[in-house]
């Protein structure tokens, strides 16, 4: 039977020098690239496709299939872009991975570049993580000096340059086409699709955009084989992934397990809800996935099961809130985030998030009405599916799910003329 936790990406984070090339090599690193270079490009794509790896950035699209979309023999430059703009509320898997083990990502990027015929790999990392940027850039310099990057990699004839590109603060740049515009030195606005990046990505040339974790897992798949990866996880959600448990748990932290672990299992590992309190609501995949409740403790955290429960696996960002937390206030704060991060390109998202914040704010402060709850749902209905990109849609699940599970609490704010919760009771230091 598979073990409950299966550290692979996180396996060496406790090695103090794992972020250096020597430390990484001591941990078995930089062995997958030579193996991949001994295979044909199609063979590398095939092993990733057969592994059943699905994108770890939230959407869950099959990575190997995506790689295969890039044209072959077109004699145009191809590009790999690693989406390292991790900004989803609750998500903290890619940033620690890059800080601890940047060589793992860069080795994966080199292999992926080889597979799709890319001569440049951009790692678009959010700007607000200075030490991660230092570590990535240092790792690129070390890897280049060792012949793993640059011209004629390990004598194979393959050339690749990896460029660490720091963003400048914009959640929307995690949307892959907005990221591409940003990488081209523009405002980060999403593009119409089609054409998809595989046809017209950065500089309107064939481009593959993958999440950090999707790329970082590639070396282990190349080394251990498609079956090794595909035998873990569930039938349709294969492999393992990083889960972040934050909020009102006794031991917040990072756990790497096969997909399909449950919140009940994760809570057992993390010592349960803090102070013996009761679980009130949680997210399975960041705020954009909406909330779940204590009815969902045994939902397997895989793509299909979480979707069947009305949420999304997303970025496996498990944010836990106990019974001291006001759900209206929590959702208001998320909605303020979506309003702030709306790029303004399309009306449903730009105007819709503005009004959602106004209405949630008056509800939270007891100035709303019961009709306001209906109005929230109506506005959500006018955003979801009508926004230009997924960010607009993402603003609605926190609200619709909160109303679904906690309608009474919205009404209670109205009846009591204010928030019935004491914010001080939710803080870390309230217990001491």
């Amino acid at each position: 039977m598979t073990d409950t936790l299966t550290p692979v990406l996180t396996a060496h984070w406790d090695q103090p020098d794992i972020f250096t090339i020597d430390g990484y090599r001591r941990a078995g690193g930089w062995q997958a690239l030579p193996k991949a270079l001994g295979m044909s490009r199609d063979e590398v794509i095939t092993v990733v496709r057969n592994a059943g790896l699905r994108g770890r950035g939230g959407a869950g699209f099959a990575t190997g299939v995506k790689w295969n979309f890039l044209p072959k023999g077109d004699n145009k430059p191809h590009f790999l872009v690693v989406n390292a703009d991790e900004s989803e509320p609750g998500a903290c898997k890619d940033v620690p991975l890059m800080m601890a083990n940047p060589h793992l990502l860069i080795e994966g990027a080199a292999i992926a570049s080889y597979a799709i015929g890319a001569g440049h790999a951009f790692i678009y990392v959010r700007g607000e993580v200075l030490h991660v940027i230092r570590r990535l850039r240092n790792a690129v310099q070390e890897a280049r000096a060792a012949g793993y990057l640059g011209q004629n990699v390990l004598g194979s004839g393959f050339d690749v340059e990896v460029i660490i590109h720091a963003g400048a603060g914009a959640y929307i740049c995690g949307e892959e086409t907005a990221l591409l515009d940003s990488l081209e030195g523009k405002r980060g606005l999403p593009r119409n699709k089609p054409p998809f990046p595989a046809v017209a990505g950065v500089y309107a040339l064939p481009t593959n955009v993958n999440n950090v974790e999707s790329i970082a897992v590639v070396p282990s798949i190349v080394l251990n084989g498609a079956d090794w990866f595909g035998d873990l996880g569930t039938e349709k959600s294969k492999g393992f992934g990083i889960f972040n448990l934050s909020g009102h748990v006794s031991t917040p932290g990072t756990y790497e397990s096969p997909l399909g672990i449950t919140l009940r299992e994760l809570l057992e590992l993390s010592g349960g809800i803090r102070g013996g309190r009761r679980l009130k609501f949680w997210t399975a995949g960041g705020s954009s996935a909406g909330i779940l409740t204590d009815q969902h403790l045994d939902v397997p955290l895989d793509f299909e099961s979480v979707a069947a429960a009305g949420s999304q696996l997303g970025t496996r960002s498990v944010q836990i809130f106990d019974d001291t937390t006001c759900v209206v206030g929590a959702v208001l704060r998320w909605t303020q985030f979506y309003q702030h991060e709306s790029c303004g390109k399309c009306t449903p998202c730009r105007e819709g998030t503005f009004w959602l914040v106004r209405i949630l704010d008056r509800l939270e402060h007891g100035d709303g009405t019961e009709e306001d709850v209906e109005k929230l749902l109506d506005i959500c209905d006018n955003i979801n599916g009508r926004a230009f990109c997924a960010l607009g849609d993402s603003a609605t699940p926190p609200i619709t799910s909160a109303v679904r599970y906690f309608t009474d609490e919205f009404i209670q704010h109205h009846k009591e003329g204010g928030c019935p919760f004491d914010a001080a009771a939710s803080t870390v230091w309230s217990e001491t």
Binding site: I18, L130, E256, A330
Partner: protein, 234 residues
């Protein structure tokens, strides 16, 4: 343009290195904006004019880009720019209280700077460190598991010029301008300092090691978890 010849020469040398990295020059705009911010502490009209001239863009085009991204500041900020995450997890766990108390303690509002120019304050959206909530950032370095007391102490130390070490970061906290230079593409010598990971990042790994849990060896098959696997897997 009011940059001195000496500043221009320095900027030109750096800009040439940045632009050379990219297949197309305009991709260098975000790094160049970080570069001019490192020179002046914010993106001035001169900085915009400089970037536009370097890349053959209009100043309006560059201004449009600057205004889109929150990390570019259009007026000076403190030598130490302090951010308090108030997105839901951090806010609920105490970030809201920390921000309110820092406003009082420093006597500045959101996006304002202390009169001595040392510290500016803003609220942040999620900075990808939720397992360390409540989180603060200073010049984009992590300060984890903060409390109102530790936040006030940090602010006092920054104002007094006392040495401050990020929780997961280098030994020496860099200044705002030094940080912008790293963002532009030029590392300092601190990449190998600090821990690989913080304690919360190692929680799962530690438990796995205690139980002897690992990923399977290659070649051992049949590990699928069934739909109702939850109990039988241990």
């Amino acid at each position: 343009m009011s940059f001195s010849d000496e500043v221009l020469a320095r900027l030109d040398a750096d800009a040439a290195q940045i632009i050379a990295l990219y297949p197309r020059a305009r991709s260098a705009l975000l790094p160049l904006l970080h570069l001019v911010q490192s020179e002046e502490g914010y993106v001035s009209e001169d900085g915009i004019e400089y970037c536009a001239a370097k890349l053959g863009l209009t100043e309006a085009d560059v201004t449009g880009v600057v205004s889109f991204y929150t990390m570019y500041k259009r007026r000076p900020v403190g030598e130490y720019h302090v951010g308090v995450c108030t997105n839901t997890v951090c806010g609920v766990l105490g970030g809201n209280q920390i921000l309110a108390e820092l406003h009082d303690h420093l006597g500045v509002g959101d996006d304002e700077t202390t009169p001595d120019g040392r510290v500016s304050l803003e609220h942040l959206e999620c900075n990808a460190a939720c397992v360390y909530a409540p989180v603060m950032m200073v010049n984009w370095e992590f300060f984890d598991n903060m409390t109102p007391d530790s936040a006030r102490q940090l602010a006092d130390d920054l104002r007094a010029g006392n040495p401050v070490t990020p929780t997961r970061g280098p030994e020496r906290l860099v200044t705002w301008r030094e940080a912008a230079r790293i963002l532009a593409g030029f590392n300092d010598d601190q990449a190998t300092q600090g821990p690989a990971a913080g304690p919360a990042d190692l929680v799962g790994l530690k438990i796995a090691k205690e139980h002897g849990w690992t990923a399977p060896e290659p070649g051992s098959a049949g590990n699928h978890r069934a739909g109702d696997h939850a109990k039988e897997s241990r």
